[in-house]
Amino acid sequence: MDLVQLQRQLVDYRTSLYHEGFLDEQFTQLQSLQDENNPDFVVEVVSLFFEDSERLLNELSKALEQQVIDFKRMDAQVHQLKGSSSSIGAHRVQKLCIVFRNYCEAQNVEGCLKCLQQVKHEYGIIKTKLESMFQLEQQILNAGGSIPV
């Protein structure tokens, strides 16, 4: 695939992520902060999001396996996940976190379990999609091109 085709593929891919509700305008703002002084800013922030999310999802899974569930602690963890997903524009994950917090507040175990599965699923999807996007960007850079805005 030549450079122009790669660049077109990236633009189409990015557009689809917004169109399908995976990303929102916060991701655009993140991209606007990347410049020659911080060339890897978006990748760094998204990597932090991946680390945060995986840690929190593990902790939430363990919390829901306990005999006595600490809903207050779980709520705090979901709150963190909501904050970080909102900060990178991971729209679907953020929306599910809002629902998840409501179940924590209601101390609804079934609701929390269902939400956790949904959040894990959506997180897995956005992680794959962002990694694919970064790979495409790297291919463009390796081919001597620039990333289209």
């Binding site: 916060q26 703002q29 993140l30 606007s32 902060l33 410049d35 911080n38 800013f41 760094e44 922030v45 932090l48 999001f49 945060d52 705090a76 709150h79 963190q80 909501k82 904050g83 970080s84 909102s86 900060s87 990178i88 809002i98």
Partner: protein, 146 residues
């Protein structure tokens, strides 16, 4: 002005690039490494010198040690010392920095309690370029008066 849900159109916006902020310093107080990085880079892009702290106690300790900042971005929910406690303590110490609360989408009651601790403004996180431009304009106005 609490800035609660303040819309872009209600703010007197100028581009951050129009304002020279080389003399301004900021402290970003947040337990999330992601939010610290995000606000750090965002403020540096506007020319501010930025330090970060992972909770309210670290922030208060910095001021006790003699540090000073023009702007403090204070997260509300943090371990060890939360934003409400840290803000109260800073104001009790006589700190006159602009302290801006940064919260998740909580109800107006929660932001009210945070404002009453001594904030100048309170906004939902993450801060947008429009909000940051507004804050820097306010800071520059305040510095030009003194």
């Amino acid at each position: 002005m609490s800035g609660n849900g303040a819309s872009s159109s209600s703010l007197n916006m100028i581009s951050g690039e129009d304002v020279v902020n080389n003399n301004l310093s900021a402290l970003v107080v947040d337990d999330s490494p992601l939010l610290r990085l995000l606000h750090d880079i965002h403020l540096k892009k506007y020319g501010l010198k930025v330090q970060v702290a992972e909770n309210g106690k670290v922030a208060v300790d910095l001021f006790h040690l003699g540090a000073s900042f023009d702007l403090v971005l204070m997260d509300k929910e943090m371990p060890v010392m939360n934003g409400v406690e840290a803000t109260k303590e800073l104001r009790a110490m006589g700190v006159t920095s602009m302290i801006v609360g940064v919260t998740s989408k909580n109800g107006p009651g929660e932001q009210q309690a945070f404002m009453e601790a001594g904030l100048d403004y309170c906004f939902e996180k993450p801060l947008t370029p429009e909000i940051i431009s507004f804050l820097l304009e306010e800071l520059n106005k305040h510095n030009n008066k003194n």
